[in-house]
Symmetry: C2
Subunit: 381 residues, 2 copies
């Protein structure tokens, strides 16, 4: 089988396409499938973009690793956000967190090298590893470890060598935070196996009642992937970043130079301005928190079981086993019959995927109320 | 050797860094090394970006393959520009032409598969192929074939199988256009070997007295890579596109979905507006033409031989054999002693790289005059 044949499309995309068809036919659909903030980017981002457009300086390439002002500002932000000292040289600005992952895996992973990933988990991770020629090892995780890989997983699956281990905290699709002591044990296990700990922190700052610890606070050699898309609601701008240990800076820089030349200039200046938009971010967080509380109350009443209460992101991963053992068909049916779009577990792996679904609350409370009402009516039939 | 260790940095970057150091010390440097238009993007691009910022709709992802309006507009542009009928489904918008190349190679090339590239040629090409796990085969080319691969090259080097063959026309570093009959024979040779013809057309529209034929006019199955960076002076916006034959649309789309999610939203709308900015493009072309004529007159007087007169791009590839058999040292010396930055041949391959240099005229005629005067004084010493 050719590598490309192992790169699956997102199932949620097909669902979204069908939802758009139904909408074009005049049907109303409640969108609880989309993993993108429904908020506009902070006004400061647009203001910065306008200023750069007026100056005419947005036309040109920036350095491959980003404008120095943004690298410095992100480095300083690690001080204010986590109390960590990070030098700007370790900050590489990338075209979205996706661009960061891609460059990282291309620099890090050699043909056939193994990367441990949680199942369920963000589906692009295994595709990044495959495209880089590596061997993604999807390890079943459950509510017992709050859906994170553990030191024991690394010990067992690292027997035949492991190049990297991925933790996403808060997780997608599960929203669960990986506590500091858990992260610390994971980092120790990685060190024992000579593996790099890759910490996907794209949902940091979108937590409700608990902070997600930065992997760098327990392991200075960890690789951190983050970006402006989620916390700052800037998906369309495509700006992310990597924090790298010193030995990886040069290899990843060479990859970035070659494959991207540079991230979008205007977007980098917009991101720099957004970094200080704490008030706007707090407002979005408060809205998410209210929506989360609503769903955590209502979904169990409908019959969905929530095996591990999510701490963050804008997702709830629910066991729909009371209704189905074919979650993909279940989601299609909910879309067609109830006008509610949610994501089937199969988008996140294979482990118990047939009985799980992901609810996203990146839509208004009003829409969520309507969605829950529709589900209630349909599931009671 | 690990794959990453075979990804070289751009030598021109080190030269540029040293040039910046000298400038910081108060030295004046004439920049004839940079491969980026010195013009600002068309005003229509900034206007479209402003309009989108005002509407607030720039915050969100677009479809992975680009906004439908831009795909349609590019498809129509193939009609007005080349008289070709291209359906919008075959147009995939990418984060720069670089993003297009990367997604293409990741979808197309399997571990160890061979891709034929001209030497000298754009250095990232071989790095894209390597990062995708493929085997870039750099084939020496010279002025006899106007620095393009030929049907004979494909026959000889394709004996052990070849997945793809690359033509860049106008070329970088050579500026030479590949004529239609040459392209046609190349396409036939590719078909004979079951290889995909990949046509890098990023410098189309920047030709002076001759048009560069689109590969699709001789081979409907060719892959075309293009973008807004050069002709429309939009490097900083990072928008490119691919025109794909039907069987490649789905695989490349899956790669794009996974590795980029989508190109920058604001940039796509800016690019859409720029597509109609023919007057601005014509003004830039006229300025490049004047600069080219100046250098084609002056460089031979200085003792540089121009083995094949360039038709396009903003480069002149010159034989500096009268002065050096170590072009890299020669370029360093010119920078330090004469205050003129040019690019050594080694950035483009190994074939006769030690006696060749690339002059870029992506800088003002005034600067070029100063550069030539400095070179004249230094080389006469």
């Amino acid at each position: 089988m050719r590598r490309i044949d192992r790169i699956e499309p997102f199932r949620v995309m097909q669902l979204l396409e069908r939802a758009r068809e139904l909408e074009a036919q005049g049907r109303s659909i409640v969108h609880m499938e989309i993993g993108e903030p429904d908020f506009s980017s902070p006004p400061a981002a647009a203001d910065a973009a306008r200023a750069l457009l007026d100056s005419g300086d947005g036309s040109f390439y920036t350095p491959s690793t980003g404008i120095p002002e943004l690298r410095s500002a992100i480095a300083r932000w690690y001080g204010s956000e986590y109390g960590l000292t990070i030098s700007p040289e370790r900050v590489l600005v990338t075209p979205g967190a996706s661009g960061g992952f891609l460059a990282l895996y291309l620099a890090l992973v050699e043909s056939g090298e193994r990367v441990l990933l949680p199942d369920p988990g963000y589906p692009c991770q295994r595709h990044f590893v495959r495209l880089a020629g590596g061997d993604p090892v999807s390890v079943p995780v459950g509510p017992g470890s709050r859906y994170h890989l553990t030191a024991e997983h690394v010990a067992v699956h690292g027997k035949n060598g492991v190049r990297a281990v991925v933790v996403t905290s808060p997780g997608n699709p599960t929203g669960t935070v990986c506590p500091a002591d858990h992260l610390r044990r994971l980092a120790t296990a990685c060190r024992d196996k000579g593996a790099v700990l890759i910490s996907d922190e794209i949902y940091h700052g979108l937590t409700y009642g608990v902070d997600a610890p930065c992997a760098l606070s327990v392991d200075p050699e960890a690789v951190v992937v983050n970006g402006f898309s989620k916390r700052w609601a800037m998906t369309g701008w495509r700006v992310g970043w990597l924090i790298l240990p010193e030995p990886l800076i040069d290899p990843v820089t060479r990859v970035l130079q070659n494959i991207f030349i540079a991230p979008t200039t205007l977007s980098q200046h917009a991101a720099l301005a957004a970094l200080g938009a704490d008030t706007v971010v707090a407002q979005m967080r408060a809205a998410y928190a209210e929506r989360r509380a609503f769903l955590l109350t209502e979904l169990p009443k409908l019959g969905f079981r929530i095996p591990a209460t999510p701490d963050g992101a804008f997702y709830i991963y629910a066991d729909a086993g009371r209704f189905t053992d074919d979650a993909q068909r279940f989601c299609q049916t909910l879309l067609e019959a109830a006008g509610v779009a949610i994501t089937p577990g199969a988008d996140f792996g294979t482990h118990q995927a047939d009985r799980h679904v992901r609810f996203s609350y990146a839509t208004s409370l009003e829409q969520l109320r309507e969605g829950v009402a529709r589900l209630g009516r349909y599931l009671a039939e």
